[in-house]
């Protein structure tokens, strides 16, 4: 089983050179720390920044420079600042190559639910619906099962949907899986120490297993 750092490290391997990436709050934000030095990417922040740099030194903190998680950040060389409408022009227009975000549930046809639990507090969808409706390549970072042990990879989402048929790949604490265009979670890799049987037991939606499933290399 991977911890959050492990999931972030594994997702970092998916990142391709020369791409623009939007990282969601939580595990996705951690991915930035594990992108290899020889891979050049630019991180987009939905609140109006292209080229997110590392967190600032104590004496560099600027209240006017935050990321989508409201954390203080810095800018990289060659960054650009813009308004929220321009930021979502960029997102909606398909200019961001890869979106990495968390989820509460993913269905076997790629639907994602990550914004609302009816009856509990509703915080709002923020930019999530725009991101999932717009990106061509979406990777979900999440735990395979909820805290109560229920699978989060389902045949259909039970929670209110954020977007339809949009998730392409899922990296969990147990496995890496592709969501196939025709439906179904195709198992690609196992987390260290996790068996295919355990993944089967933890996946409620249609799981597709072909041949030998290798263990992740982190």
């Amino acid at each position: 089983m991977l911890d959050k750092i492990g999931i972030a490290k594994r997702i970092a391997q998916e990142v391709q050179d020369g791409t623009y990436i939007n990282l969601g709050i939580g595990i996705p934000t951690l991915v930035a720390n594990f992108i290899p030095e020889n891979i050049n990417v630019v991180l987009q922040s939905e609140n109006g920044l292209l080229g997110i740099g590392p967190f600032p030194e104590e004496d560099e903190v600027d209240a006017d420079l935050i990321n989508a998680g409201k954390q203080t950040v810095t800018t990289t060389k060659g960054s650009a600042l813009f308004s929220s409408s321009q930021s979502f022009e960029m997102i909606r227009g398909g200019h961001v190559d890869l979106t990495i975000l968390g989820a509460m549930e993913v269905s076997e046809n790629g639907d994602i639910a990550n914004w609302k639990i009816p009856g509990k507090m509703v915080k709002g969808m923020g930019g999530a619906m725009d991101l999932v409706a717009s990106a061509d390549n979406i990777i979900v970072a999440m735990q395979h099962c909820s805290r109560s042990g229920d699978s989060k990879l389902l045949s259909e989402c039970s929670l209110p949907i954020t977007g339809l048929r949009c998730v392409k790949k899922i990296v969990t604490d147990m496995a890496v899986l592709d969501v196939l265009p025709e439906g179904g979670f195709k198992l690609l890799e196992r987390a260290p120490g996790v068996t295919v049987e355990e993944i089967k037991a933890a996946t409620a939606g249609k799981l597709i297993i072909e041949g030998d499933i290798p263990e992740m290399k982190i």
Binding site: P56, D64, F82, S83
Partner: protein
Amino acid sequence: MINKVVANADEAVKDIPNNAVLMLGGFGLCGIPENCISALLKTGVNGLTCISNNAGVDDFGIGLMLKTRQVKKMISSYVGENAEFERQLLSGELEVDLIPQGTLAERIRAGGAGIPAFYTPAGYGTEVAEGKETREYDGKMYLLENWLKADFALVKAWKGDTSGNLIFKGTARNFNPMMAAACKITIAEVEELVEPGELDPNHIHTPGIYVQRIFQGKDYEKRIEQRTTKLK
């Protein structure tokens, strides 16, 4: 050039009436009109509809106006930082419209740009799409969304000149420019107010045509929600 200067925040907001519809700039607490919010707390105006990406925190930003029950309705994209907000929502004291952030930004931009409606993919197949027209373009489904306009915009800029031109700083720009364009009366508070000609015309983010009142703000707290620094 046309002079738009008013003395201060009190002067700028004094004619905002009960039940007005306001837009307030900012993302989280970044780039919010601190001075105008303070002035509204003093006028005691109520029944307000506030269009703003977030609703502040319990003791800062729009959260302060929630505490004083001046807000009847919030139109926002994310409001998760505020316990008083949650209490009022669950008790039915506060109405809330939640809108995808990009749709909110584009609807406001459309309001200022004379575009009454546009198609966007955000929210298709979700409860956001309920009751809305949908249409397919190039094999993908889209929703028809309408413009958003309001009576007053309260925006915060870094620098401004007396004719209303504004320059924002960092990610404090966010919703401010679109809101400035989408309202009948736009009130801009700035950290530094200068004479026309001192700002490079090529660097203006909001041209003065969108601003009706401007004043030099004071005592900016610029509170940080998630002060995060480099790990040692």
